[in-house]
Amino acid sequence: MQSNATLEYDYSIVKLFMWTTVIFGIVGMTIGVLIASQLAFPELNYLLGEYGTFSRLRPLHTNVVIYGFTLSGIWASFYYTAQRVLKVSLSESGLLKALSKLHFILYIVIATFMVISLALGITASKEYAQMEWPLDVLVVLTWVIYGINMFGLIGLRREKTLYISMWYYIAFFLGVAMLYLFNNMEVPTAFFSGGLGAWYHSVSMYAGTNDALVQWWWGHNAVAFVFTVPIIALIYYYLPKESGQAVYSYKLSLLSFWGLMFVYLWAGGHHLLWSTVPDWMQTMGSVFSVVLILPSWGSAINMLLTMKGEWNQLTENPLIKFMVLASTFYMLSTLEGPIQAVKSVNAIAHFTDWIPGHVHDGVLGWVAFMVFAALMHMAPRVFKREIYSKSLLEAQFWIQTIGVVLYFTSMWIAGITQGMMWRAVDEYGNLVYSFIDTVSVLHPYYTIRAIGGLLYLIGVFMFAYNFYKTATAGRRLEQEPRYRSPMA
């Protein structure tokens, strides 16, 4: 701590990313609640004409939440954490500081055009990789800048050993770079047709089954390298910091990190079970998905055991609540995923609402909870102010927890109900239900899910208000808090 006093960290870029986290969170999750409500009440499809249908809005929801909210939170955390664990300030290098600003500006430009183009229906149509080639080029550029900043800071570091969070940030950078490049290989059509048609249109380099393989190699690992790897970087920094406890086990962190790196990529095939990709790949996807429980639970258990002997903090500090529940949801989600990846279970679960249910217990319970905790841990240190309201944080925690539980339980029931109805046969072996029967039956669950989502969104608004007040009206702090974040 003494060495920190002599080093003035530069948080200008951190603050910018923190604000975009809040804004994208509100936008993305509001759209989420709208589209969830549309499934229960289809009349809501007609609020915005052509631009307001479920189908057009769904990629907006996913992209804004993943690449807006989550990425902003990750980068805010990165620029905060990297300076601290490497013991180097961004202001020490004019170049890196300028590049970090460029990083933010390019990011905002991409996000803006992403929103516009998706609203207009301009899309490459691969899930979570919908952006067309001009935006892909900008993404690659931004990624390179992020890489330069990260390795630049590492190059200037005073602390020679890389802290665990940095391992995960490095993996995040490399993994996404590799996957994104290969999945977005596309041929702009205007170049080969003598300038005909829309200049931004392209076709995928891969066709059919190959395209599916590459896409889910990406799609699955986007979950790995955006929703898992950097979020683990977050928890490995913020939980020990906020609680004042040392990480429980170095060996367990080693095992989990290298295990996760080794296993994750293989598991992508579980998105393609019973499809036209070769059987051996499907089996590999299944098997490695089950193996994946080990490194996933390794990290989660390591974090939970970090709280050993200090569980009283769980009742006293809402940020500890968020983080402990986040690791618990991480365990739930990483157990549920492998279950769904078992071929016989997948036969029922695939294409049903159990899948969005699974995704959301992960992203709402684990990813977003960690992002909220990270932002609130950073806020007093970055703005040098006390957190505006502890009771608001507590209320947010409980409202959102209830929201998540309503969300995933309703989707579990909906998914399994639908999966069973699709395959139900009568005594003569004929299908019992027409497709529309299996849709109508879901209405109550879609309604419950929308309510769960709404509760969660209310929590996001509470968070946004709390965060805004902290930044502008929180009591000023003389000294940087050492461990627990001070809150009124």
């Binding site: 189908s55 149509s125 691969k126 170049f191 395209d211 036209t276 990709v277």
Partner: protein
């Protein structure tokens, strides 16, 4: 070794990259040549169908509809023959989808008609009373982007040797010729089968409504 790696970021990064990259090499590469071979008799999409595929992408039908019939009796009873890899050989991108809020569409051309689609896209509840699918009325007035679809055909022919005839070639002139001789007549046939005068009139005026292109594409899914 790990302690050493943690002090040497370059080698650390190299190590991480190797550990994550080789899975892709082993899993994905070997299958590439085999899986992209078309089934016998498979024809590439016509330009009108490609334009329809663009509408399918633009209004993002894959948010709720799959194009992948799995090899289970319950699925083949409901949708027909299970899907084969070679049937997708000209699908760039693949449109399998990941969610069935609505039914699978891989063989929808076998059991729906253009006029059924016309009614359904205009007002889904008119043919499926409990449907939760939104109406897509804008597709009846928006014109499909035929030029981009043509550009796509030229591109896949040039770059991937997709077997199109000589009439598919670069340049505005070739496109106009193709549009007049092939595209519009093909669209007119679909528009007439959809039994809506407004669609027929629009095609006759030289513009193809999005929904006509879309139905041409859906009819092709068999």
């Amino acid at each position: 070794m790990f302690h050493w790696l943690e002090k040497n970021p370059f080698f650390f990064a190299v190590g991480v990259f190797i550990v994550i990259a080789y899975a892709g090499l082993i899993e994905i590469l070997p299958n590439f040549a085999e899986a992209s071979r078309p089934v016998k008799g498979l024809k590439p999409y016509t330009v009108l169908e490609l334009a329809g595929k663009e509408v399918y992408k633009k209004d993002n039908c894959i948010a709720c509809h799959s194009q992948l019939i799995r090899p289970f009796k319950a699925e083949t009873d409901r949708y027909g023959q299970y899907s084969l890899s070679g049937e997708y050989a000209y699908d760039r991108p693949f449109l399998w989808g990941s969610k069935r809020t609505g039914p699978d569409l891989h063989r929808v051309g076998n059991y729906r008609t253009p006029d059924w689609h016309a009614n359904h896209m205009w007002d889904p509840k008119s043919v499926v009373p409990d449907s939760i699918m939104p109406a897509y009325k804008h597709e009846f007035t928006n014109a499909a982007d035929l030029e981009t679809a043509y550009a796509e055909a030229v591109t896949v022919k040039t770059v991937f040797n997709t077997p199109y005839g000589d009439e598919i070639k670069p340049g505005k002139e070739a496109f106009e010729k193709y549009k007049k001789e092939k595209l519009l007549p093909e669209a007119l046939k679909i528009a007439k089968a959809m039994k809506r005068d407004d669609l027929v009139k629009m095609v006759e005026s030289g513009k193809v409504p999005e929904v006509v292109a879309l139905v041409a594409y859906l009819e092709r899914l068999k």
